[in-house]
């Protein structure tokens, strides 16, 4: 049969964003693929060269609409390395709680988007319902529902509000119970299993060599995690372990393994929130006013020429990273160069190549299982 190219996207439910996957098919079988990105490239790196270090945080929030909190923190940690700022321990605990809430919300968004791709609409509604609980909690911290602008260089904008700890504990415990409902609905759904098991195999070493990180690698039986290998924040004071999934086949991790590892990661994050609320210095029920030295330390607003700072950060989608060089506009008030490593920008070309050999109907299942987010990809 003659081979032909078909174009999936930019408007296609498989893309979970705005990009194009050109697929060469032979009958029903994929024989070649070619991703095209850049539809929503807005030049964040260039804009930030004329913004000062505090003004950059909202731009980093908007890198990923599903995971604003972690992207802002990813930037803030790099900026603190550049500006040589020490962060109060209470602020680090608040950041950890905020980041793990965002990780749960982001994985819920992923699960909600992935299950309709694979034939289960109920979980979509449930996921968005439970994501709302965590968005409410983060709204209490940042004041806004999606883009929080919460971290500051040297700490956080505001302390935990009065009563936040009780609400967070209650909602997290409720969420842990509801996780069992999701698993009952998905792990026992024949349609979901048929769509996800045995497709989209990827091996651990190949993934790491191709730049794929995070839960996608942990699905292949390795517990590599940036929070474990290069601990930042107070992850070394919390009781946790990276979630890791046993792959089902010698060919690597399939879509089902990647689903399982994200479920475990949500559970792990929920337990981390509970643990951090107990261990936070000063007590979770105390409220310090904004700018108090318990939650915000003084930071310089200029970085000298030649200084640089970078930080590897465990984003829900893999390893994100910011590289900042000082000495920009306004005698160092802006970075001379800000460079963003987006995990999905590197992952999408790899995923496109893993699809070769599968049927065209498997493409949404494979692509969705890697959790694409185009806001950060195109920057």
């Amino acid at each position: 049969m003659a081979q032909m190219w078909i174009t999936m996207g930019p408007q296609h439910p498989m893309t979970h964003g705005l990009w194009t996957l050109r697929v060469k098919i032979d009958g029903e079988t994929v024989v070649d693929t070619e991703p095209e990105l850049g539809y929503i490239h807005r030049g964040v790196e260039k804009i930030c060269e004329s913004r000062d270090f505090t003004q950059i945080t909202p731009y980093c929030d908007r890198l990923c609409y599903a995971s604003a909190m972690t992207w802002a923190h990813s930037y803030i940690y790099a900026a603190e390395n550049l500006l040589e700022v020490e962060v109060p321990e209470r602020a680090e605990y608040i950041r950890l709680i905020a980041n793990e809430m965002q990780r749960i919300a982001s994985h819920l968004m992923w699960l909600g988007a992935y299950t309709p791709d694979t034939g289960n609409l109920t979980v979509f509604v449930w996921c968005l319902r439970d994501r709302e609980m965590f968005l409410d909690l983060m709204q209490e911290l940042g004041g806004s529902r999606m883009h929080y602008n919460f971290p500051r260089v040297g700490g956080v904008k505001r302390d935990l509000p009065i009563g936040f700890a009780d609400r967070a504990r209650a909602k997290t415990k409720m969420f842990l119970e509801r996780m069992q409902e999701y698993e009952m609905l998905l792990d026992e759904s024949t349609i979901f299993l048929i769509r996800t098991q045995g497709v989209g195999y990827a091996k651990a070493e190949e993934m790491v060599n191709a730049g794929v990180t995070g839960p996608n690698v942990r699905a292949a039986g390795v517990n590599y995690d940036v929070r474990w290998a290069h601990p930042y924040s107070v992850y070394d004071e919390i009781d946790w372990e990276p979630s890791v999934e046993k792959q089902a086949s010698i060919k690597g991790a399939d879509c089902y393994d990647r689903y399982r590892v994200r479920m475990e990661e949500m559970r792990q994050s929920a337990l981390m929130i509970l643990d951090a609320l107990d261990k936070i210095p000063g007590g979770a029920d105390t409220h310090y006013s904004p700018g108090d030295e318990m939650i915000l330390s003084k930071a310089p607003n200029r970085a000298p020429e030649g200084a640089s700072g970078f930080h590897h950060f465990e984003d829900p989608r893999g390893e994100s990273m910011f590289y900042l060089q000082g000495g920009g506009e306004g005698r160092g008030k802006s970075p001379y160069r800000m460079s963003i490593r987006s995990p999905m920008f590197i992952t999408i070309p790899f995923v496109a190549k893993t699809m070769i050999g599968y049927k065209i109907a498997d493409i949404p299942a494979i692509m969705g299982s890697f959790d694409p987010c185009i806001g950060e990809t195109d920057r």
């Binding site: 850049g38 804009i47 070493e205 790491v208 191709a210 730049g211 107990d278 920008f345």
Partner: protein, 224 residues
């Protein structure tokens, strides 16, 4: 619950991290000292202050260094390759390429096996490590470094992006295309070069004119 265990017991410890960084630096310096490659141990200046390996490499030895790191030192992950334009950098420094690499102890696993690594058990090339490689290029209209696409698959799209946005040529890169800018962008247009300015360059919304009524783009006289 405050007497619970902590993650520190199984994480990669600070001592481990520092001794691995020192070992990596002395290996690089003894292997590449004649080539002008200089490695040193630096520490992040905030947070847990972990060590990382910082390398300065002349462009002509970058490919050899990359191969040696990848195949003899287990540096299996290319995190980011980025470029910087220094129009005022002097006679020696016109451009800079910065590569961030990582060593990850990741091995393919048998089915049904979860390999749970503990920090204390890792030795030698299995200890995770961060690498930062700086490559200084002289002023030039065609800055060029060797491509490491053949060493790390992950370098492929990083190099495409760096060429697309900054305009640094990667010698030996197969299939160099624009990835973020439109495919029909003018030849030689690389927006992160410093001669390109934002349309509202020098205009500070916060202090000059909060309403923005008076702002004019820099190309206001050229645009109808």
């Amino acid at each position: 619950m405050s007497d619970k265990a902590t993650g520190a017991s199984w994480m990669v410890s600070a001592d481990q991290n520092e001794s691995a960084a020192k070992a990596a630096v002395s290996a690089i310096n003894s292997h590449f000292s004649k080539a002008g490659v200089v490695a040193s141990v630096l520490k992040h200046s905030s947070g847990s202050k972990r060590s990382y390996v910082s390398i300065e490499c002349p462009p002509e030895h970058w490919l050899a260094l990359a191969k040696w790191l990848r195949f003899d030192n287990g540096v299996n992950h290319c995190s980011m390759i980025t470029g910087i334009h220094h129009p005022d950098g002097g006679a020696d420094k016109g451009w800079e390429v910065v590569a961030h690499l990582m060593r990850m102890p990741v091995k393919n696993q048998e089915p049904g096996v979860a390999h749970v690594m503990r920090g204390g058990e890792l030795e030698g090339n299995d200890i995770p490590m961060e690498y930062e490689v700086g490559i200084i290029l002289p002023p030039s209209t065609t800055p060029t470094v060797p491509s490491v696409q053949s060493v790390w698959v992950g370098a492929d799209w990083n190099e495409k992006e760096t060429w697309d946005l900054v305009g640094i040529n990667f010698e030996g890169h197969k299939d160099m295309v624009r990835v973020l800018n439109p495919h029909d962008s003018p030849v030689g247009f690389h927006p992160l070069q410093k001669q390109h300015r934002l349309r509202y360059d020098g205009f500070n919304e916060m202090y000059d004119d909060a309403q923005g009524f008076g702002r004019k783009p820099i190309d206001a006289d050229k645009v109808k």
